[in-house]
Symmetry: C2
Subunit: 274 residues, 2 copies
Amino acid sequence: MVVLVNGKFEPTVSVGDRGLHYGDGLFETLAVVEGRPCLWARHMKRLLRGCNRLGIPEPNPEQLIEEGLKAIARSSRGVLKLIITRGAGGRGYLPPANVEATRIIQFSAWPEYPSDLLSQGVRVRLCETRLGATPSLAGLKTLNRLEQVLARSEWDSPEFLEGVVRDTAGRVIEGTMSNLFLVAGGGLRTPDLSRCGIAGVMRELIMEIGESLGISTTQEDLTLDDIRQADGMFLSNSLIGIWPVREFMGVAYNPAVVPSPLVTAVMDRGFRFD
Amino acid sequence: MVVLVNGKFEPTVSVGDRGLHYGDGLFETLAVVEGRPCLWARHMKRLLRGCNRLGIPEPNPEQLIEEGLKAIARSSRGVLKLIITRGAGGRGYLPPANVEATRIIQFSAWPEYPSDLLSQGVRVRLCETRLGATPSLAGLKTLNRLEQVLARSEWDSPEFLEGVVRDTAGRVIEGTMSNLFLVAGGGLRTPDLSRCGIAGVMRELIMEIGESLGISTTQEDLTLDDIRQADGMFLSNSLIGIWPVREFMGVAYNPAVVPSPLVTAVMDRGFRFD
């Protein structure tokens, strides 16, 4: 793993960093293909929007891409994680008057998943851990991710590649590390993320590509019953692209129900620099 | 500021620490008086309980007090902050099979508050930021504290020493860094913290001391109307002990309404080692 902190190759951060004390920051996880971070502009857009919502000074995207390419160096494939924190210091929760954000750039190996997931689909389990409704943080990829850690800690069997999490009212929200789509009546349905959840970059791309193919997506409150009654189901994030689901809660789904023009376009368009 | 990380005087942590990536950890903040951390046993009890709930290996309290005293050295007064994270590594949210927790011990100066707050009371404002109901984390002092950062960032005027935060349903929960009590009908009322909020060590002590003085506390759902109709109001945490409130939302409260035997006992008992 290669790490740059504020532009320097060093694997440590100040113990006073607010990312550590409060989870006071944001992150992005990008696939690297042919030496370049995929969907760069979209990830930057989300990162800057998150900084605005939290009042963290915007990082300079040109500096980030420069440092990102430095971390990737001559590697072709891998994962680039960008962390932006509000920096160090402050009296307790109150941020210091002059904030100097911390930039952490981490390049690591591509995760080893079976190669036939796109055709075979994945098995998914239901998590007991619930997501709290936190309107001030909803949609954002913040460093406050303990709920995801607890949900992902519920199982360790490689038999299940993902778990579905609900909010405290029982609404289905997402996977622990992915967004969730249902295939139903020729269109797509995906959970509304205004109360909690992370609005994924790949999720947004899927909705756009779907629209261009005449496959529209509704964002709405969904329940486990909606999943049971769906024709099919798939998961998405920036590393996996699309994972069709073949089984969830004892119900078998046909991976081929996910429209193949959509899958093909997303797996192509989702793994390019821009 | 003096910092020990895993027993060594060094001001940095590994950039792979899960405390930084996910807020995957807990902390305690203790007053140091006459060179010793106050309410040590109670803070340890809460810390170990939190570790159990999150599945983080329990730290050794004897090692922590040894390192705490090393950080305090010859200082008499100050603030000791203990952070325990789940350590470094893991595949994404899933913690590694063999977790080695990180211990961070930080000793810093005593915060400068006006000396007459106990008699004069403090002015308190209402925050707009709402706390999400997160049952899996409720009561715990985790490193996921972005809501508190946002709430505390709403004002910077020293005129207000604290802000009151509500949950998404409008229930009053706590201050950004303190617990909240109402004085009403000869007893105390404090918010129920089963959905969100931090169950303070000083809060617990206040309820115990109150009980022994015949002043009972009910833990219940409270609204802004309950505050408006209360005889008085006070805040608590391990550093401030008790702060009577003199004004909140345009209503003046008499700081002297907080029972003085309670205040005296808490300000004495709350600032001893055990």
